[in-house]
């Protein structure tokens, strides 16, 4: 029987290999980029029944996070406020604003407003808000600058490796407790003398003079607090977050 394949097919295996190589890399790169929470979660901004503007309430009116999310320091779960909390003010302020229609209906019908949850944690993850905010992890670390958001969106990836980044190096996210809900806080805002007087000098910098116009860095603050509060987040024990 004569040969079935013409001469050009000699290059076919090489061409197939090249195509497979390119496709393989494209698929890997695609999965790497599109299949991670950095892509799938960040930027999620659902339409809420009421377009609650955090920026007006926090940055303009100066409300604290804990006025509404009142359980965050004492419970694992940080609550979304109930309608009564809204009506504390809105029974008098902006009481006819059409944007608040859903709140007023909820107040009358005694059924909660159907807020859309943005930051979801899987049911096999036991995240505890109080454990974090009571040890100087700011709301900012996970939720970003909600105080400047007209409508809240998912700003950080919340993947497990992102959790572990902090659990392996918590000093990057620790701040004095009284600044936990101050989402505009910067390490340089901290007064070096007051800070060192209260918490001591950063480990390894005991000889350094903090009395002048010295600006503290995040690492100096974080390492000091980590040392001072004995912060040791579990970084290899699965049972810390999964039971």
């Amino acid at each position: 029987m004569a040969n079935l394949f013409p001469k050009w097919t000699n290059w076919l295996p090489l061409k197939i290999l090249v195509i497979l190589f390119v496709l393989g890399n494209a698929v890997t790169a695609g999965v790497w980029y599109y299949f991670t929470p950095k892509y799938t979660r960040v930027g999620y901004e659902p339409i809420q029944p009421v377009p609650f503007p955090h920026d007006i309430h926090v940055s303009q009116l100066g409300m604290d996070c804990r006025y509404c999310h009142s359980f965050v320091e004492v419970a694992a779960h940080s609550n979304v406020p109930n309608t009564q909390t809204c009506m504390n003010c809105h029974s008098q302020v902006q009481k006819d604003n059409p944007k608040l229609q859903a709140v007023r209906e909820s107040w009358k019908s005694e059924l909660p407003v159907s807020w859309v949850q943005i930051h979801k944690t899987p049911d096999y993850v036991y995240f505890n808000h109080s454990a974090h905010v009571n040890r100087g992890v700011s709301c900012f670390s996970c939720h970003d600058q909600v105080n400047h958001m007209a409508v809240v969106y998912h700003a950080k990836p919340h993947s497990m490796s992102w959790c572990l980044d902090c659990h392996r190096a918590p000093e990057n996210n620790l701040r004095p407790r009284e600044q936990v809900t101050n989402l505009d806080w910067k390490p340089s805002d901290e007064n070096a003398q007051t800070f060192t007087a209260k918490y001591g000098k950063p480990p390894g910098e005991e000889q350094k003079d903090f009395s002048g116009e010295v600006k503290l860095t995040q690492l100096e603050i974080g390492n000091t607090l980590k040392h001072n509060w004995n912060v040791q987040p579990p970084d290899i024990n699965c049972f810390a977050c999964h039971r």
């Binding site: 029987m1 079935l4 394949f5 991670t36 950095k38 497990m160 490796s161 980044d165």
Partner: protein
């Protein structure tokens, strides 16, 4: 002068070896008679055999699908017996593969030319056995769709498999083993595929053999590359013969369970794997030879006898290992280990149990089946006429097949069914799903082998030709002595 020559001649006759391929077959005979197995019309017996094995394989697949869709609860495993038939079958099948690798790699490097008659079929057997083996660790994890967690993939969870766990080493060992075995098998196939391509009469066959022969022309340059590739693959496979089953044994040996925690395990498992593997090679090749009588000239009694000798050697090593486990349990003075061996395995209800005044071990029958099949049965091969008797060899090999399964069952189940806490003791019974999954893997194994016999050359033609008398450079050379004799 004449006397001297006569002495040389009789010496030469005395040391003359039996040729590996008998009845003075020529290269052309090999090509014709092996290719015809693939080229001829599908025989009736093949359809009969396939119609038996394929439904069994399918039912095995159904059992696997049922287990995956319902959960591992359909198996009989429960605390404290977390590993039972699944891992028993895994180790059983992975062990069988080792004979193929030993034949293709170690016997190649040690220039054992008799391997050429059996290496192709043994390598195919290795692949199919590893396929069957790979099923069990895959499905026993329960959530099969999470099995990719075993692979070290960088992903957004930021975690890696536990590199200190032998279970992970197992994944690497078995996947490496399968990859290298496929490469080795396929590389060896290329010249034979080219032969079949050149002989093909139908377009479909021509197409497939042309594609898979990768443009083989049999040129000097191609042969040089081929032989170098084959040598390198043999070098790569040789450590795998020893490492794969050593790693499998680490699954047990690195734990602290009495009966598992033994430093003797790696060599003991490797010897057992080669032992069981050769038994399976013979179990397959003896019937294949019956069905294709031309194979009697290629796989001769000499080949069967050589394999029987390997079975005798490795079987005796295994028997020594069994004895040594008891010695170490006694010498190590660990009461738990002694208890596990005596009370969970050895003590039968008739002789040893009553003699030692102990309750019989619940799985004593499994232990004594193992001893009978693995230690006693191969001893028949000490007698030359018995190891040259095909029927006896076939029967003993099947004893060994059963015995090697019992060995893994004994090691796994007897060690964990009665552990440190008597309140948690639990006797294990398999469910029908487990039993039929195991039988199903036999269906898969035999179906694959039947397909292999039907579509690919089951004897490495190009390699067999190299060991023919014809291939000897001195073949038909003018013999000085004969010449002297002739001129008398």
């Amino acid at each position: 002068m004449a006397n001297h020559t006569a002495t040389l001649d009789s010496d030469a006759a005395a040391v003359k070896r039996v040729p590996l391929i008998i009845n003075d077959r020529k290269a052309n005979w090999v090509t014709d008679n092996i290719s015809t197995i693939v080229e001829a019309k599908t025989p009736i017996w093949w359809w009969v055999a396939f119609c038996i094995t394929a439904p069994i394989a399918l039912f095995g697949c159904f059992c696997i699908a049922y287990q995956i869709s319902t959960g591992v609860g359909v198996w009989g495993e429960n605390h404290p017996v977390g590993w039972a038939w699944d891992i028993t079958n895994f180790v059983f099948w992975i062990g069988i593969g080792h004979a193929g690798t030993l034949i293709s790699a170690i016997l190649f490097l040690t220039r054992q030319k008799w391997r050429t008659s059996i290496n192709r079929a043994s390598e195919a057997m290795t692949l199919f056995a590893v396929v069957c083996a790979g099923i069990f660790p895959g499905i026993h994890v329960g959530r099969v769709w999470m099995v990719w967690f075993l692979a070290p993939v960088p992903w957004y969870n930021g975690i890696w498999p536990n590199f200190r766990s032998p279970l992970l080493w197992d994944v690497f060992a078995v996947s490496t083993y399968f990859t290298v075995s496929v490469l080795f098998w396929y590389t060896g196939l290329v010249p034979d595929l080219a032969t079949l391509r050149d002989r093909a009469k139908s377009r479909v066959k021509k197409f497939f053999f042309t594609v898979f022969a990768l443009g083989w022309r049999g040129s000097n340059r191609q042969w040089r590359h081929y032989e170098m590739a084959y040598l390198i693959l043999a070098g790569l496979s040789t450590p795998l013969v020893l490492s794969v089953h050593s790693v499998v044994s680490f699954d047990f040996a690195t734990s602290v369970i009495p009966g598992w925690h033994a430093t003797i395990f790696p060599p003991y498992f490797v010897a057992g794997a080669i032992f069981g593997g050769f038994a399976m090679v013979l179990t397959i090749l003896i019937p294949a030879r019956l069905l294709y009588p031309q194979l009697y000239d290629v796989i001769t009694q000499q080949h069967v006898e050589k394999m029987a000798k390997i079975i005798l050697l490795t079987g005796s090593i295994v028997g020594y290992a069994y004895a040594m486990e008891f010695f170490v349990a006694w010498y190590g003075a660990n009461p738990y280990e002694q208890w596990a061996f005596l009370r969970n395995r050895l003590a039968d209800p008739y002789i040893i149990g009553p003699a030692l005044h102990v309750q019989p071990a619940p799985y004593w029958w499994a232990y004594w089946s193992m001893i009978t099949c693995n230690v006693i049965a191969p001893q028949l091969f000490w007698k030359k006429s018995w190891r040259r008797n095909t029927l006896i060899v076939f029967i003993v090999c099947n004893f060994v097949n059963a015995g090697m399964w019992f060995e893994r069952f004994v090691i796994i189940v007897t060690s964990i069914s009665r552990d440190f806490i008597p309140s948690s003791w639990h006797l294990y019974h398999p469910s029908w799903v487990e039993i039929w999954t195991f039988i199903g893997t036999f269906g898969i194994f035999l179906s694959l082998f039947l397909l292999f016999m039907r579509f690919l050359p089951m004897i490495a033609m190009s390699e067999v030709k190299i060991v023919l008398p014809e291939a000897d450079p001195h073949h038909n050379a003018p013999d000085a002595h004969v010449g002297v004799e002739a001129h008398h």
